[in-house]
């Protein structure tokens, strides 16, 4: 179980403290699919990075199975938001295989597993491309394949589908859910798309623009979920309104 207790993140800039996250507390249980929704710049990436152990908390604690997180580890794999997360010196296949190799998987097995996930994200035929020869969306898909191939306990996904077309996005959502169903990792998924959150998540955390929790919504819709299904639209309207109002409030507070 993952537990955040009053997590605070402050960046010190020349003349003032930028308080990005102001005391975030929530729990995610083992095998849960947890979504984070919030306006741009509210601190979603920062939050994910702290769970990943890449960033120190400025206050509060993050506990994993009761123990404080001190750094990155192979139990938590993150797919970053940026396009530069593939190792430039490895091909697509090399990138997907590499962490498996590090963790001691035999050559044949890791080749097979890598190719399976590469095909799953639709990059069959591009195994021998170097990252700089891929399009933006293809890079993101390759990074996703690498993360999934590792089959970690916790998957931290930072807008992994942001640069994908609707079609690709739909397919990958389905694949992700399939994997989640079979291996039951804990997934923490940052997204901007309200419908994506509804389709995927067990619970949805809505953040305010100034780095606080607006609310956590339980998503009880039956799986598999589809935009047209009963309750979807209501939920969408509700969440959309929450995100919007959190933004306006923050704006008002500022002025």
């Amino acid at each position: 179980m993952l537990e955040l207790q009053e997590v605070v993140k402050v960046y010190l800039r020349e003349n003032f403290r930028h308080e990005v996250l102001k005391g975030i507390s929530f729990q995610v249980s083992q095998g849960e699919f947890f979504c984070i929704l919030g306006p741009s710049g509210c601190g979603k990436t920062t939050l994910l990075r702290m769970i990943g152990g890449y960033e120190k908390v400025s206050g509060g604690r993050i506990l994993l199975q009761g123990e404080e997180i001190t750094g990155p580890g192979p139990d938590r794999i993150m797919v970053f938001q940026t396009f530069d997360q593939l190792f430039a010196w490895q091909t697509v296949r090399g990138n997907v295989e590499y962490p498996l190799k590090i963790n001691g998987m035999a050559r044949g097995e890791r080749r097979e597993r890598a190719d399976f996930y590469i095909e799953m994200v639709g990059l069959k035929g591009y195994e021998n491309y170097y990252p700089h020869q891929l399009s933006g969306g293809m890079k993101q898909r390759a990074a996703l394949a690498r993360a999934l191939a590792l089959q970690p306990q916790i998957l931290l996904l930072d807008e992994p589908f942001a640069s994908l077309d609707a079609q690709n996005r739909e397919i990958l959502q389905e694949e992700l859910l399939r994997i989640w169903n079979s291996l039951k990792p804990t997934v923490i998924f940052v997204t901007h798309a309200v419908d994506e959150a509804i389709i995927l998540a067990d619970r949805i955390l809505v953040m305010t623009e100034d780095g606080d929790i607006k609310m956590i919504v339980e998503n009880k819709l039956q799986r598999p979920r589809r935009p047209g299904m009963p309750g979807f639209a209501r939920m969408w309207d509700f969440l959309y309104e929450q995100v919007r109002s959190s933004r306006w409030q923050a704006e008002k507070r500022k002025n």
Binding site: G71, P72, I77, M78, D84, W89, N103, Y130
Partner: protein
């Protein structure tokens, strides 16, 4: 950066080379400068050819080259260890910084008393001078390279379970390869300079006939400036070969292929 129109750069380099040589020949023949000190290139080439065919130059070059390669490999190992220590631990970094600011600006010649005291006057001292010349610029470059590794790569490496030496080999080194290659290029050139200078001091001390540095010293002493230039020509030819065959191919197989430059 700039896209090239012709695939074959060698041709255009050759053109420049020939132009420079022609210029040399013309200036020398014009007699503006004292020709014993500035001999025409054709004469240098003649001496070069004679010394090449009688095996002298080859032997001397091999001797110096052998020293350089030893020096480079040792330096490489030490540099990687120092730079990696520096990025892994705050204390080591400070030590390396202190050593670097102390030792980098000190000329090898000023360290001769210590070198002789510690290592005598044989090959070891020449190697010491080479190391002292090569290590520091490589450390400067490699440290900057290591620090320029995008933090996302380090984060990923650590996530995958890499630590220490494996993080170095798997992530840090490949990612800082442009700096590494730059450093190696500088180190290679520096090693030449160092070996020449050191051989001038330690001469044929090591019992053999000495290398190119000693040869240069002797030809200069005997006022055989064309001979001096012939020895320099040997260095230049090796330099061009290594640049074209080693460094260019290395870059093509790595940083160029990976889209890093």
């Amino acid at each position: 950066m700039a896209k090239r129109m012709f695939a074959n750069r060698l041709l255009s380099k050759l053109f420049w080379l020939l132009l420079l040589l022609l210029l040399w020949e013309l200036i020398s023949r014009s007699g503006i400068f004292e020709p014993t000190l500035f001999p025409p290139f054709s004469k240098i080439l003649l001496v070069f050819w004679q010394e090449l065919t009688d095996g002298l130059l080859l032997e001397k070059t091999c001797y110096s080259l052998q020293l350089i390669l030893k020096g480079l490999f040792l330096s490489l190992a030490i540099t990687v260890v120092l730079s990696f220590g520096a990025v892994s631990s705050r204390w080591v970094e400070d030590l390396v910084d202190v050593l670097n600011s102390i030792l980098h600006p000190l000329p090898g010649i000023a360290l001769l008393p210590v070198a002789i005291l510690w290592f005598g006057i044989g090959e070891t001292s020449i190697l010491f001078i080479i190391l002292h010349s090569v290590i520091w610029p490589m450390v400067v470059n490699l440290k900057t390279g290591f620090r320029s590794v995008p933090s996302i790569y380090l984060e990923l490496g650590r996530s995958f379970g890499l630590k220490g030496i494996r993080l170095l080999g798997g992530v840090i080194l490949p990612s800082s390869l442009p700096y590494f290659i730059s450093g190696l290029k500088i180190g290679w050139a520096r090693a030449w300079r160092a070996v020449i200078a050191a051989e001038m001091v330690f001469g044929a001390a090591s019992g053999t006939a000495g290398g190119l540095g000693w040869h240069i010293y002797m030809t200069r002493y005997y006022f055989d400036i064309a001979g001096t230039f012939a020895a320099l020509l040997a260095i230049v030819i090796i330099g061009i070969l290594v640049e074209e065959l080693f460094f260019n191919i290395l870059e093509k197989m790595t940083i160029k292929k990976w889209g890093m430059v």
